[in-house]
Symmetry: C2
Subunit: 648 residues, 2 copies
């Protein structure tokens, strides 16, 4: 059973610091920008048409003529839903009549696009009526439904308005009826609705949504494979040749029943969305077989198939996991959405059992790949997150065509930008959780983010911190309560000090599995201070990872750093670490990249002659290597970038 | 104009040593084995059907019923032609009634498959009659014709029999008429016939073949692009979607007229076959614009787009060159045929001007990638030649699906095995050339291969050597002549001694551009000895090559070495060179890999803990690293292999 539950999004109010600043950027810039993009109002960027598709569906259902054809991906609706989810969270944080108006209008568009029976999908309503539910493998109907449901729940929980909730409940009912009555073997080609239904269940208390989520998980991967049967039966294909000859059941995690899955395979976003739902359901039911499978999949990802940046999915072919230890830095995919999904999975695993490794990976994926997914101005986005970029090669030489060295303003497949937006606007739900079951009366702190949180246990906490630039987080207790505060002890901090009202605590005595449990009768105004060791350090990969042998990376706190050409004389490829050398944090530089702590390391610059191959070792000179946080790379024009550098 | 010309294949008789042994293996094993494969007589390997296709064409032309459908690639005929070329060379070296019978039969099959008008192509005769010459871009008709022509010339030059020569002359006449009369803008989608026509011109003295070759080179890349017009006109496609939307004119080197091409682009085999013909024609005509283009393309390849193994073509997508310095070791293509073609190109450049760099690259491609293309038992072949193999990843993880860690016995696209066979059976033509023009009365030695050669200048030379295991080559002069012997001075030998009858010569005085010119009145029995510095050495890539930064490779003489798991405790990924350490040649081991000189280097073995990423540098211990020649890798079962290792 769950040991803790996500706090309501309204329980957290962000303060100062890196994540609050990013959240504010999302509210101030990203959400309005994305709304304009979804409305096709931003010239020069990839056309979205996502809102117009839904408007046309509404026209059609009202008996009016369709004036514009459907445009975009079969899952174009989901961009609207994810934006709406982010907008809902934003509305809980700050009044914005303009945003409220946009949300009103969008909900109205969705209402008109919903059929009498509850069905709501602009692609099938406008473009392929009659083919609803006949191609679950490729059509993303349940995926889009899932995102709509999440938006409905988010708007309800953020603002109390239940208009969209009613729309999605009606749709969920339609799905329930279809899949229990007419197609009991069917399940989503792209998982997402499973985790959404569990959120809807919790928001409404209606057990049928949990039942449907569990059903989708149960039927997945049963023999004979539903998707193989479906495609043989329907005889047509939505995508290209590569998907035509043999169905790759690994691609959508349907090779085995979910409880028998041990290796993270296939499309990485599908995978982590599925595992998130599995962990969530395991927490609701307490089923050991399901939580064991989640643990095995977690190990598969984090011990064998994850980049140091928390990126997952080693190849663009199928946007997928490949095999153990195949983690190329140049031909990598590491989709932004996949790391968002890894954050979801980690959060559900934390609800299942409070182990620091989940929070460590949550933090790794969030502070590195997720944040790197967005330009510092909030108007450009990475879909793919390489750990090495060499202009002239990256984005140009196959198979690095997707590994762009700069963020584009939008994408034909625009799943990532609104995913980052909805995660950052709900960051409090990942930073804190309220204990339950065996952990009743415990309040968990997983991330250190400035702001104030209502615990749900009769007290609130405020946190002041410059994390991750500074390693101190100061909490103030508001209220009076006998309770337990559980603080995540990041594995990267080799010397953590926890003090209460200035008195250092014996961490050995109160730490367990990466959390420090502080139990006492707290009084209003009590101060709890955590101090982490922010000494920068080198990281080494297992020699089983071919791409990283002989190399090191540098981290400080949760941040993975990278060397960019602009800080290093234009050339990063010629740099290497001095094996005996130090890594130093430089003073916080408010004017650099929105304010960062740069790093400097002792190293070398090799000066190759012009020859492609030469017999003499090219000479090298001592050099001070400069590093900036990976999450801020590619914000200063086209230049080389590397996370892993040779060490000599 | 040419400064030297290829010797007749009959002028060289192989003696002892590595290349002669490989030539004998080709005669004894590979040629009979491939004949059985071409006849579908080897169970358990990829079906060829190449001879049966031609037999069926003969049946059809004779008015008999076609009893078996065409099978295989549109260029399946070329496998027969390349095998026949190798067989022709073999017949010049050793009597073999069995092989003669096979050749007789094959020539008979070809004769019956030839139409009245001279056309000869089983695919179009059996499967797509009426579509001849309508899809030059994709159909490989001229490519197959080129290989047939080369076979006809080879059989004529090797054995004096002119039956196949007449067949191919008739076909060449048919092509001449078609392209000068009916389709004067058409040229080959896959270059090959251009170089073949120049060989036919020299074998027959008929200028029209040179004229046709020059024509094909001249029309290539003119605007509007012929292939774009052709595909728009015909409206159908032979290959898959990837080639459908926009014609990639770089792929077949038709973006620019050949004289304006500066960068080696597109399909690597197409590229080097084209450049070979360009260099060959430039030698025949003395045209500067053409030879300048050849030099630029040569630099593009050898200074920016070539592996240390002489492999070319960095990606399997289009089997193609990518961009400068993109030379990944794991996702590499480096097709065996492309290195065979690079040997051709180098040989034609040497005929144009005697510069050591051409012979250096010829030797690099030959001794490393070309030889690696064939198993030591002559029955398995590499198409793709990676510089790193990690079982579990190589051949399994996209985009390394083509980078197999073991040689398969045959291929659906079987271009490479017979290409290796025809090159090795004619190795004398690459080792020697006879001077002409400004170099009349000069005899060139480009490679050091045991055997005897007729110079064409009234004397012969015999060479005794254990090259490349030993660095001494002893030549004996047979005859009496005042002449110049020009010996290639490999760039890798830092101390070469050239002595005549025991008397060391002043190399500085007689060396120019990588050749030593020894002019004197030679007497019968004179001994010329070359002694090369065989000290093994490390090689470094330019830091512009992202894949090799921080790494070194080891070479000894022309051989690039690699570390294999079987010699290194099963694990190569954990190995690194000691930067201060030595590389040593071990004694020649007759029992290892058919007889090799292994190398040993001072290095390290890093012992990672189990964690994917760790904060402490994993400990390392001193280790003696073992290396074997790259050309012998993957002969001892599945194991790890690396050419480039980190240096620490």
């Amino acid at each position: 059973m769950k040991c803790s539950r996500r706090i309501p999004v309204t329980a957290f109010r962000a303060g100062e610091g890196l994540l609050p600043a990013r959240q504010k950027l999302v509210r101030d810039v990203v959400i309005p920008y994305q709304y304009h993009v979804l409305n096709d109002e931003v010239p020069g960027v990839e056309k979205s048409h996502a809102l117009e598709n839904l408007r046309q569906a509404g026209r059609k259902l009202a008996g009016e003529p369709v004036t514009e054809p459907f445009y975009g991906m079969v899952f174009q609706d989901s961009d609207v839903a994810k934006w709406l989810e982010a907008a809902a969270y934003a509305l809980s944080q700050e009044d914005s009549p303009a945003l409220e108006k946009a949300v009103d209008e969008t909900v109205g568009v969705l209402r008109r696009a919903q059929r009498e029976d509850g069905y709501l999908n602009s692609y099938f309503t406008v473009k392929e009526p009659g083919r609803e539910w006949t191609n679950l493998q490729e059509s993303h109907e349940l995926y889009c439904a899932g995102h709509l449901i999440e938006a409905g729940v988010a708007l309800y929980e953020s603002t109390g308005r239940d208009d969209l909730l009613k729309i999605v409940e009606k749709y969920a009912g339609c799905i329930y009826d279809h899949f229990f009555r007419e197609n009991p073997r069917g399940c989503p080609g792209h998982p997402e609705v499973e985790l959404a239904l569990l959120r809807l269940y919790r928001a409404t208390g209606n057990e049928k949504y949990k039942e449907l989520s569990a059903h989708f998980l149960d039927v997945r991967g049963q023999k004979p494979n539903y998707f193989e049967e479906e495609r043989a039966h329907r005889g047509w294909y939505r995508w290209g040749d590569w998907n035509r000859e043999v169905l790759n059941t690994d691609y959508n995690q349907s090779t085995l029943p979910v409880r028998e899955q041990k290796d993270a395979v296939g499309h990485a976003v599908r995978a982590v969305y599925l595992y998130t739902a599995m962990a969530d359901l395991a927490g609701e039911t307490g089923e050991k077989a399901l939580s064991d499978a989640c643990r095995a999949l977690w190990q598969s990802i984090t011990q064998r198939r994850m980049y140091v940046t928390g990126g997952i999915g080693s190849t663009g072919f199928g946007e997928a996991f490949t095999v153990d230890y195949d983690l190329p830095n140049d031909t990598v995919y590491a989709e932004t959405c996949a790391s968002v999904g890894l954050v979801f999975f980690a959060q559900r695993m934390l609800e299942l059992e409070p182990r620091g490794e989940y929070a460590d990976t949550l933090e790794r994926a969030l502070y590195n790949t997720v944040l790197a997914g967005m330009q510092l101005d909030g108007k450009r986005f990475f879909y793919v997150n390489p750990l090495e970029a060499v202009p002239g090669i990256s984005g140009k030489a196959y198979p690095q065509l997707d590994d762009l060295p700069e963020r584009p303003p939008w994408y034909a497949c625009a799943c990532c930008p609104p995913n980052v937006a909805r995660l950052l606007t709900s960051i409090g739900c990942y930073a804190y959780s309220t204990g339950c079951g065996a952990y009743a009366n415990t309040f968990f702190v997983h991330l250190y983010v400035g702001g104030t949180v209502e615990s749900g246990l009769g007290f609130s906490l405020s946190c002041q911190t410059d994390y991750p630039w500074d390693g101190t987080a100061r909490f103030t207790f508001h209220g009076n309560a006998e309770t337990t505060l559980a603080f995540h002890l990041p594995a990267w901090s080799e010397k953590t000090i926890l003090s209460v009202n200035g008195e250092a605590q014996d961490l050995l005595a109160i730490a367990k599995d990466g959390y420090a449990y502080l139990t006492r009768a707290f009084s209003d105004g009590d101060e709890i201070t955590l101090s982490f060791d922010m000494t920068p350090y080198k990281v080494y990969a297992s020699t089983r990872v071919p791409a990283d042998t002989g190399c090191a990376a540098v981290q400080r706190g949760p941040l993975v750093y990278c060397a960019e050409g602009v800080d290093n004389g234009g050339d990063v490829l010629s740099l290497s670490f001095d094996e005996q050398g130090a890594v130093r944090a430089l003073p916080y530089d408010a004017g650099l990249l929105g304010g960062i702590v740069p790093l400097e390391a002792d190293g070398w610059r090799t000066e190759s002659a012009g020859a492609l191959y030469s017999r003499r070792r090219p000479p090298r000179k001592r050099a001070a290597l400069r590093f900036v946080p990976y999450c801020t790379w590619a914000n200063r024009g086209l230049n080389q970038m590397r996370v892993w550098l040779p060490e000599q």
